[in-house]
Homo-oligomer: 672 residues x 2
């Protein structure tokens, strides 16, 4: 019977080489003749055919791959099987999500949105003024930026709980990058032009990422690196605020830790005690308010109202004591009126264009990361979908429009969105309420900010960025994934000691290196049989798994690429050497066969193919059989095309490890 | 019985949370009560426990990882269980592999090596002269480089068939890079100093890669990119040789296609017909000789002897007709004598140091790649091991010593090694024979090369580099792996149209991008049951696999990293949506459970962990069960540490897909 089995296999094999789409190893039932020492579960000792995947043309493959890269979420699925009229409505709703909820808008929704809108406005006004200062811009630009962009987003955006406005990290990065080349104090007009131009480029970059469906690029700023980056930026921003809190007049515009600290301690003579006392009082007040709100989310309004309260109180204080507190630096005169247009202030020719583009791209990607993360967080809390690429287009357009109306880079802000959500916002209409409130402020209330002192703005900024230092998340990284923690530390120290751009680059580099490292040195695991089953699992992991005599069963835990093909060859040889030594020491039966479980080998390239055929030759020289188990479709196809599978004829390809062990050991029984 | 089963599971689960090293899902035998519509093989319906891998400390993990990165081949295994004296002997043999074979050297081995050595010498002498010209060095430097380095390698190297000497690509790159900054014709001495200094840095770089066991870095120059790079370099080199073949005197030193072609056709007036006629005659002679040898490997000596024959014939011709052929450019006077020392010609201070370092590193890595590949190729033909890192140290030292004896960058050359091998070399002693022959030439025969014409050197170079255009290999890439082919084309056109360095950088970039792309957009595959078994395989691949009603079984074919965690979440949602639509259309039984086969998820990072818990929440909201099957040890450990596994309590973790399907569908039977 054994001979006939062998013949059947060879016939089947030749049929495969002829038809080249079916590799049948054996279709015959071996019944009880295949009883081996190793496998105890005998009911399914029948071998199942290993076949090639159906043929797919290169064009189909390319099409599939491109779809997976650019349209993984199949954005057109909503249009499927709809009438033309319905398709048109859906398309309009897709482009302008406002059309989805506006028709069903009700009074009760409006009541919630009104309260939420007024609450975030009370936060947005002092934040806008402070963040504009962080970007070395006049405070009024921060208010302009809290008026136009939220309105644009309301029409185009699909998040319901986001709060739009300038954010600390993007403001800081823009401020540092531009000020490094063009001084904001000496060349005020040029600086302003560059800020608007950077905003334009940020918007263009964001929108084009969305339009060309390259949104996945922001995924490369992994959470781990962002935690480090944010914390580093927060530390720098806080230290820079010492300028305002200590009342220093001459301060570095550098962003690294060491020059900032030097600046603080070199100008110790400039420190003003009145500013210090008042500044720290308000800082403590704000921090306490923040602490209360983080402890009890119901009291969100405490931290939401605290900044405006501080601004009002401190302005009153300075106004009343203005004769005694002459040295305290204040905002001063602010122009009244709605956003002036600024499309004539865009800078397209000249030596600083490259700087504007670079600043635009970096602030664009940073603000996008924050905006998308905010949108996704609140969407997942309320179980609705936010389409990343769609959001990028909305945020991008918001910045493109914004830069024509004297706004600088804006995005969805964590702090505003949290307040908005807690204040009970139901739709994005709360942002329109906020914009209206800011408009009223711009038209009528600007003179009230004349006496607002700089120290209170510094205190507001510090309170806002303190939340960015997420040490708990960093601890979690340390606990769960040491390499993620290293990436986090790299970006933290990179930002702190080198520069924002290099910190970011290091962070992305470390993240990519992590992937490469995993592929370059993949795990190879020895499998053993779980007694009484046909299941084979790692000997290290499952202590009850036992080695199968005469077999070395290895699972390769990575695709085989040029970067690891040599390593895997060497590593497998070493496993074989180790196994032979172990067998010699324990006087067990000699090694006869190496089985590679290829389940996790999900791709292979030409170097990988060569590695497999080298390995096969190598094993042949050592008179060891080599069997491949559970080849994935694409891998099998490539091995077949390269004729590598030919050398695995009969007794070389199996569907499961169990079948391989059964079949090979039974064949040795027949021909010892 | 069902209730008791449930209780058992919960008890087992609580025992796991207490002891935290064992998650037992169910140990009870369900016997025939678990008969489901789907699984037909009932004998092994017993569930097997899923357990956590044994605890490993961070230090052990780090230790293991570092070992795998730097010592994958376990280089110290030969010292294991040996006496101290034996260890000492082995250590000496390890450092100086000559000690391994020299004691057993015999007359018959010597006879083979002598013939092979004389054969490669006849190739090495004209090649040395030609390649030195390629590097813009005096021809004698090429001969010096064929004398000292082979001797050093013989002592330190472990390959037996390698032929040491200068190689075309490294010579070309060195020539271009140095000449770009320092003209070889105007600043002869400085150029020579920089060449020796680059050689020193190449050697230092190579040796330190080996010493620090970073040899795997050269694996990142994948075969695919090297095929493109070599072909591009060969085209450029061949075109540059038109200078010699056409007898042009004014020629560009640029390396890109366009300036070279411009140079050829702009100087059409300088073309000399005598040079052209003779040059092409010798070129055809050499190409025919090469063709004969590639067709019949037995006739290897035809192509081995052809260059020297050409040199002798052409020199004789020029000598005899020197009155008539005055315009033909010849080598001219060459100094007699053995290598002069050159350690005083090394350049360590000054503006060009950076150039020397850069050139050293690039030529170092290129020549290393060729040398290691040659060593490995012939080692695998004769079934002996070549330790990559060890070889790098040998090649590095050879260059460090070389640069002190007027040699430039050398390595194992493909053409010489092939001739050496075919000529029957048995040990590396053939290189010593070659060195001795070169020594005799240096001492006595140099005047004979006075009349050697440049055109014959050009013809020799072209014949040598023609073999680097491996269009068959490129076709194979196209057939097997389109992305590999793209990488190959990128490096080919990069070298041809931009520059050697940028071409190389593009090639490495494309290769890395390929890995990143695979990880960023991994496959997710729907599995189906192969009738009559407990085996689940891809529905696309195995046409006989059938869907299991109420189940969606997905296999995730990649580790889950930050770069793909969002994609996978979206993609799985889309699979669920698609499956629900399909079920609605076909009126099948509703979807109840999503099973993720995690066999190929060989690693996970913190973003991946978050993705799994998001996914679980998402499925809970849709009232779908989520089960994870066959978690790999490290993944399981991380999910456990992050408490994500807690939400998978009972009915969420299984060892095989079959068991998951059986257990879940039987539990629905009991509580419908």
């Amino acid at each position: 019977m054994g001979t006939s089995l062998n013949r059947v296999e060879e016939e089947d094999y030749s049929s495969y080489t002829n038809s080249s789409d079916f590799i049948s190893i054996s279709l015959e039932d071996n019944n009880n003749t295949t009883k081996t020492a190793t496998s105890t579960s005998k009911s399914s000792s029948e071998l199942h055919p290993v076949c090639l995947p159906p043929h797919v043309t290169t064009w189909q493959k390319l099409n599939h791959r491109l779809r997976e890269i650019f349209f993984p979420d199949d954005p057109l699925h909503i249009f499927k099987d709809q009438s033309w009229r319905r398709k048109l409505v859906l398309a309009f709703q897709y482009v302008f999500p406002i059309l989805r909820w506006a028709p069903h808008y009700s009074l009760s929704l409006f009541r919630s949105d009104l309260i939420a809108g007024l609450t975030i406005a009370s936060l947005a006004i002092p934040q806008g003024i402070s963040y504009a200062k962080l970007a070395n811009l006049q405070p009024i630009i921060g208010l302009y930026s809290s008026f136009v962009p939220p309105i644009v987003y309301s029409v185009l955006g699909s998040s319901r709980h986001i709060g739009i406005g300038p954010v600390s990290v993007a403001s800081l990065v823009m401020g540092t990058m531009l000020d490094g080349e063009v001084s904001h104090s000496n060349k005020k007009d040029l600086y302003l032009e560059l800020a608007f131009t950077s905003t334009l480029f940020a918007g263009l970059f964001q929108a084009s990422l969305g339009i060309f469906r390259l949104g996945f690029i922001i995924d490369f700023l992994s959470k781990a690196t962002l935690i480090g980056f944010m914390a580093g930026a927060a530390v720098i921003v806080s230290l820079q605020q010492l300028k305002g809190l200590l009342g220093i007049t001459h301060f570095t515009s550098d962003m690294e830790l060491i020059p900032v600290l030097e600046s603080v301690f070199n100008s110790i003579k400039e420190w003003k005690w009145e500013t210090i006392v008042m500044g720290f009082c308000f800082l403590i007040f704000l921090l306490v308010a923040r602490f209360i709100s983080t402890r009890k989310p119901r009291l969100f309004w405490v931290s939401a109202a605290a900044p405006l309260t501080s601004v009002i109180l401190s302005s009153l204080l300075i106004f009343l004591l203005k004769s005694k507190l002459k040295h305290v630096s204040i905002i001063g005169h602010l122009p009244k009126g709605v956003n002036p247009t600024s499309e004539n202030k865009l800078y397209f020719h000249g030596p600083h264009l490259q700087l504007a583009i670079k600043t635009g791209i970096i602030t664009g990607i940073l603000s996008l990361t924050e905006g998308i993360a905010v949108g996704r967080t609140f969407a997942s809390l309320h179980n609705y979908q936010v389409d990343g690429n769609k959001e990028m287009i909305a945020i991008g357009f918001m910045n493109i429009v914004g830069c024509c109306f004297s706004c600088y880079v804006t995005t969805g802000s964590f702090s505003r969105s949290a307040v908005n959500y807690n204040a009970g916002a139901k739709t994005i209409f709360s942002n329109i309420v906020m914009a209206a409130t800011v408009l009223v402020t711009l038209l009528f209330l600007m003179p009230l900010f004349h006496y607002t002192p700089d120290f209170v703005l510094a205190a507001i900024i510090i309170t806002a960025v303190v939340g960015l230092v997420d040490y708990k998340a960093a601890l979690r990284l340390w606990k769960l994934d040491k390499l993620d923690f290293v990436a986090c530390c790299c970006s933290f120290f990179g930002v702190l000691f080198i520069s924002v751009q290099i910190g970011l680059a290091i962070a992305v580099g470390v993240s990519v290196f992590k992937i490469i490292l995993h592929v370059t040195r993949p795990n190879t695991v020895v499998l053993g049989n779980i007694p009484g089953t046909q299941i084979f699992r790692s000997l290290n992991h499952y202590e009850n798994a036992t080695r199968v005599p005469s077999f070395l069963i290895l699972s390769i835990e990575s695709p085989i690429f040029f970067a690891n093909s040599l390593y895997l060859q060497e590593r497998i040889s070493r496993w074989v050497r180790g196994e032979e030594n172990r067998i010699r020491e324990n006087n067990e039966s000699a090694l006869k066969c190496v089985i590679l479980d290829m389940t996790a080998v999900t791709a292979i390239d030409t170097s990988g193919i060569d590695a497999i055929s080298e390995l096969k030759k190598n094993m042949d020289k050592r008179s060891l059989q080599l069997a491949l188990v559970n080849l994935v479709g694409t891998v099998m196809e490539k091995l077949h095309q390269s004729k590598t599978l030919d050398s695995f004829r009969s007794k070389g390809l199996y569907l499961t490890v169990g079948e391989a062990v059964d079949d090979l050991s039974s064949s040795w029984k027949h021909w010892p």
